[in-house]
């Protein structure tokens, strides 16, 4: 079974409202981030991104983001032709500010997450996910 980005399952928790970014061509990563943050400074910490080091299937890579106290988390696949992968918005009734989904990765690249916290500050984290042709192990 292959997932396209549009078919990607969203398993956001609680009263989370999840929004998929439209699949049309998007601005590059920097622009995307600037749009999300309004140009605010971005710190680190308080946001975790869980992704495999090596994708078992580049067409459907499971990722999870978690940032207690966040109101919104954006996920970018920085090496994809259209980097925007997902934006999760957490309402005031959300039990936890975490979400998991599966994204498609065209090639080895950094997956990046940016979270907007309740106080209006931003944090980011990224991890390299390798997409390999495989074989020859063992």
């Amino acid at each position: 079974m292959k997932f396209t980005r549009r078919e990607t399952m969203l398993m956001a928790l609680g009263a989370t409202a999840a929004t998929m970014l439209p699949g049309r061509a998007m601005a590059d990563v920097d622009e995307k981030v600037a749009e999300f943050t309004g140009g605010a400074e971005i710190g680190e910490g308080g946001l975790t991104l869980t992704a495999p080091e090596i994708a078992e299937n580049g067409n459907t890579v499971p990722i999870e983001v978690s940032a207690p106290g966040a109101v919104s988390i954006m996920v970018l696949a920085t090496g994809n032709p259209t980097p925007g992968a997902a934006v999760f918005n957490f309402g005031p009734l959300a039990g936890a500010q975490s979400a998991s989904t599966r994204i498609r990765l065209a090639k080895t690249q950094n997956v990046m997450a940016v979270a907007k916290m309740a106080d209006g500050s931003f944090v980011q984290v990224s991890q390299e996910v390798k997409v390999t042709i495989g074989g020859c192990g063992g």
């Binding site: 080091e53 499971p62 074989g135 192990g137 063992g138």
Partner: protein, 564 residues
Amino acid sequence: MISRRHFMQAGMAASALYGASGFGNWGRLAAQQVLTQDDLLNFETSGNVTLMHITDIHAQLMPTFFREPEINIGVGDVIGKPPHVTGADFRKLYNIESGSPADYALTYDDFTALAGTYGRMGGIDRVSTVIKSIRADREDALLLDGGDTWQGSLTALRTNGQDMVNIFNALKTDAMTSHWEFTLGIDRVMEIVENELNFPFLGANIFDTEWDERVFEPYQMFERGGVQIAVIGQAFPYMPIANPKWMFPELSFGVRQENMAAIVQEVRDAGAELVVLLSHNGFDVDRKLAANVDGIDIILTGHTHDALPEPVLVNKTYLIASGSHGKFLTRLDLDVRDGEMKGINHRLIPIFSDVIAPDREMTALVEAERAPYQAELSEVIGKTDSLLYRRGNFNGTWDDLICNALIEEREADIALSPGFRWGASVLPGADITREDIFNATAMSYPEAYRSEMTGETLHIILEDVADNLFNPDPYYQQGGDMVRVGGMGYRIDINKPQGKRITEMTLLKTGELIDPAKTYVVAGWASVNEGTEGPAIWDVVENFIKRKGTVSVDPNTSVKVVGA
């Protein structure tokens, strides 16, 4: 890495932990031709818990020859650290006398001559003798198998792993983890685990792809000597990438470091006083895991086939490497008191098949498993003038032979053979039997394909595999060796990033550089793609050897390595 002396001191420093390790002085005894079983098994029982570790036996029930690697390069933080030490450096590091039994067992040089002196190693009936002897010292010693058990021989292939399941049940194994087991296909694995195996098949990092739920038990608790012991299993993390995913389409693996930290916490909360990780991660992955995850006392490493005479201490975790192919069994006596490990006595016991008496009960079981296949196994196919071995980061003579066979039998320009680390050695001057060929090729996706590839595709493949081996971050390594190439030479700079390591790809038969745009005929085997077609690799190799009568393999000088 720590030397024996440092090991003792480190032990003292860490909350009065005491320790001992090494081979004792049997090396010298053997040199005087008085090596006996007692020398190999002599071990002062200590503490209150005994662990026995065997791993990566690759279905080798009989004593075999297995030459250790000459080239085993470490990258990033582990340059020059064990297990990335070979030959004279290894002897120096562990104070091993040249020409001694330890030298023969643990290094590559002078292998043929020393094999003549010291003979074959391993044999599950000898291993059984050692296990029984340890159980005589401590009845409730735990026997833990690190996996790669059900694959690697003709009999395991023909019986879908049944021979190994029967034997490891008979050994009274307490738990195992896995890698090549899954190449039997998920249905067969589930059949064995649910109906046939007498002990748990552990995999804390095996989840189903749909619901992300565990498929197997992550750990097993044991009570031994009044101590609560948690044995956590970690299967090979890159199963669906390095081996055919279509054989177990609904399973997901991965290192999953956070998952491991959570499991360690869970077993500690459940009262574990000793936490043992039975791992098939590969040594460097385990070294990183030990540095990043607290609370694991012992990691029994596997997958990368390293044999180390001493533990490697990382964080507060002792990493144990017990070799492969049944050459060694590790005994660990641990002193666990007041909820923590206070002492460790370690010995990597070499299974010299001419010194350790076979356990007759086990010999009979092995013979029964092999009997239906005896004629097939023992048929002589040809002879070799060269030592045939597998290990080495870039090549080995077994794969040189396989590549030569692929090029000639399948009329190809270039041959590719996967960087497997399993496969017993054959001495120069010896007959090559069908069993020998299967020991280097027996697996469930053996089709020898013949296809056309552009120079660019070949470059991408080599770069991809090189990064699986030489990525400086161990979590991005898969633990195999470099794909072996016949008919083509190349230069590799291991310190460059992916895409920049491989240059000067040259077609050997013309001496011309490979043209990225040109198409070449490539033969290979063990493709992970479903539906690959071609004759089984063992038939290709057998036809080639039969046709030649006697084979010899020229020294391989076609890979230029830079930056090692």
